[in-house]
Symmetry: C2
Subunit: 341 residues, 2 copies
DNA sequence: GCGCTCTACTAGCGCGCTCTAGTGCGAGTA
DNA sequence: TACTCGCACTAGAGCGCGCTAGTAGAGCGC
């Protein structure tokens, strides 16, 4: 037993033991015509016996194509988890393998993507990339890539994202129709879709003639930012500034944090403040009360993303495409009429 | 431009352009002695220019060792996310690459692990594996493996887990000392550590002379199971059965679900019922009130897991080892004295 | 008998890299 | 001058596979 662990059997081992050539074993394992049924069975049986399994590295080196898609994601993002779950089956359906590479504290996007490329992924699926257009463009020229969640312009890269403006407009109309006027937005910072959502929020307020009430709190796509925003608002109230009657959060995680902060401070939702999230990740139905949120269809987005890159790999010289998924407001229990007065 | 996308430059391209041999380029990229500083700089500059990057597949094929660790995890488990974040830096520190493979609906553990092995991972780190001892043993004979979170006996596989009995005892003593007697346990089903926790719960109840009060609700390590258990208890109360005064949940996710269900039903925590979680995942501090929970040190567990497999890879014929991490009860706001009467 | 096609199988190159065993050369030593 | 020695560098085998080109043999028509 060597330092590399157990010695892996190779095709040659199988071939020798089955009394055929190496090429024949290769044919059998690729499930290609050119081998008799009897021989096929024997080869497979022998392989099973000696515990042979094809070596991906060698295979992909010889084949020239890895038929592998790389996925860059962030390990704590629940919405990314939803997306990953959608990517696996779709990739498999199209005959591709999937490799995951996470960003984490101390491991940035570049490292994560480089790891994927080093493993010869033919295309990379970037979940909510943070990198700028220039870098994405560079990546897009080097390989086939798609950005999910974040819209990318002026870069040779596909993108799949939600029609943020429509999602926000639905949410804002819902709040406005309920009677809300003092509507605050917690910003998603550099998070995917944040710029669009912020803009759409501003546009909606303007349309209602509420420019004066427009207020964006700095935040991010994390629970912490929701907690912070909640604390800030509560602290303001203690100094005399009234609470907003409604908050449009950066995403569900942020909304969750906000609800927690409000719960701790005894602020009633939706009695005193209405809250709207964004994503409809599986967090949404775990809240004390069901979260009103804008649904992004993770499965559909995953399918489109896989489809985009696979198409580009199969057909030469395809132009990058953009898919805009229709969001849908899901009204649950965190929104209601503002308290009179 | 071929179907595989852009043509990757190879070492030969770099060598030709830099006017050196391919072997020399290899030396430079492996950062090995045998090349002059000037040549080194030139090679690296040329590589940068033509966008060369080493091909992992070829590299690992030639090297015989991949120096890659595979991690099997479940995409929605927040505690797994904590572990993954701990694995990356430790693996890097020891000179290993990390490959992630997720289980998901429609993608079971076997598929996830096979994918890792096909990519020539030298060892696999299994986060909370569900497979039986026989299968793990088989895997352990085929490759170097470690189970994290779940204790494994009678299998050639390392394991890193928390001293569940101590964790549960701390939690139970805490509840008992507060005055609780009607303490219910939501079971983690087949989840890692569940059997040990269930046993420890039973042992504690027996020690207090509370066998008669012992009650285990079937559950799992998900928010849903907490919600279900909560609903069940609330429904029982409506039929006359009093609520327990304290609940020891399967883990934090389960506790979160339980708290949500209680909140929805207007059950006060800890006023009417105290709740204890397990893991101290980053969920813990997001609850409306801080969750009292048993901390498992994710970073330490990750480090030990990586250390175990790397040691086994480096030193031949090492015996499988077991690390038992000391848990620590973190008392926050979901536990208190039971309501008098 | 011949040529033809079809199936079952094999030989052997090459994928991009690592690594061992060299070669060539200037400096140091006797 | 002859010799080592160390350094910079190269030649070339081989990692495990895929794939193209080829062979051997059976079956068939004439």
């Amino acid at each position: 037993m060597s330092a590399t662990g157990k010695q892996r059997p190779t095709m040659a081992d199988v071939a020798a033991r089955a009394g055929v050539s190496r090429a024949l074993v290769s044919i059998v394992f690729r499930n290609q015509p050119g081998a008799g049924q009897e021989t096929r069975d024997r080869v497979l049986r022998v392989a099973e016996e000696i515990g042979y399994r094809p070596d991906n590295a060698a295979r992909l080196l010889a084949r020239g194509r890895s038929r592998t898609l790389g996925v860059m994601f962030t390990v704590h993002h629940t919405f990314h988890a939803d997306l990953v779950e959608g990517i696996y089956p779709e990739a498999e359906r199209r005959g591709y393998d999937v490799l995951l590479s996470a960003t984490a504290p101390g491991r940035d996007e570049i490292q994560a993507v480089e790891a994927l490329l080093a493993h010869r992924c033919e295309a990379v699926i970037l979940l909510g990339p943070d990198a700028g257009a220039a870098r994405l463009d560079e990546l897009g020229r080097r390989t086939v890539a798609v950005s999910v969640g974040r819209r990318v312009r002026d870069a040779r890269i596909d993108s799949v994202h939600t029609a943020e403006n429509k999602g926000v407009r639905q949410a804002m109309d819902h709040l406005f129709d309920l009677g809300h006027r003092r509507i605050v937005h917690i910003d998603g910072g550099r998070g995917p879709g944040s710029a669009e959502r912020r803009r759409a929020y501003g546009a909606a307020m303007r349309r209602y003639g509420l420019q004066a009430e427009t207020r964006v709190l700095a935040g991010s796509h994390t629970e912490e930012s929701g907690i912070e925003a909640g604390r800030l608002l509560v602290a303001e109230r203690e100094r005399g500034t009234p609470l907003p009657t409604a908050v449009l959060a950066a995403n569900d995680r942020c909304a969750l944090g906000l609800l927690m902060a409000f719960a701790r401070a005894g602020v009633e939702v939706p009695g005193e403040v209405s809250v709207v999230g964004y994503d409809d990740s599986h967090l949404s139905h775990l809240m004390p009360v069901g979260l009103t949120t804008v649904r992004q269809d993770a499965v559909l987005m995953a399918e489109r993303a896989v489809g985009f890159v696979v198409d580009r790999l199969d057909e030469e010289n395809r132009e990058p495409r953009e898919a805009v998924i229709e969001p849908k407001l899901v009204v649950r229990d965190t929104t209601g009429r503002p308290a009179p007065g």
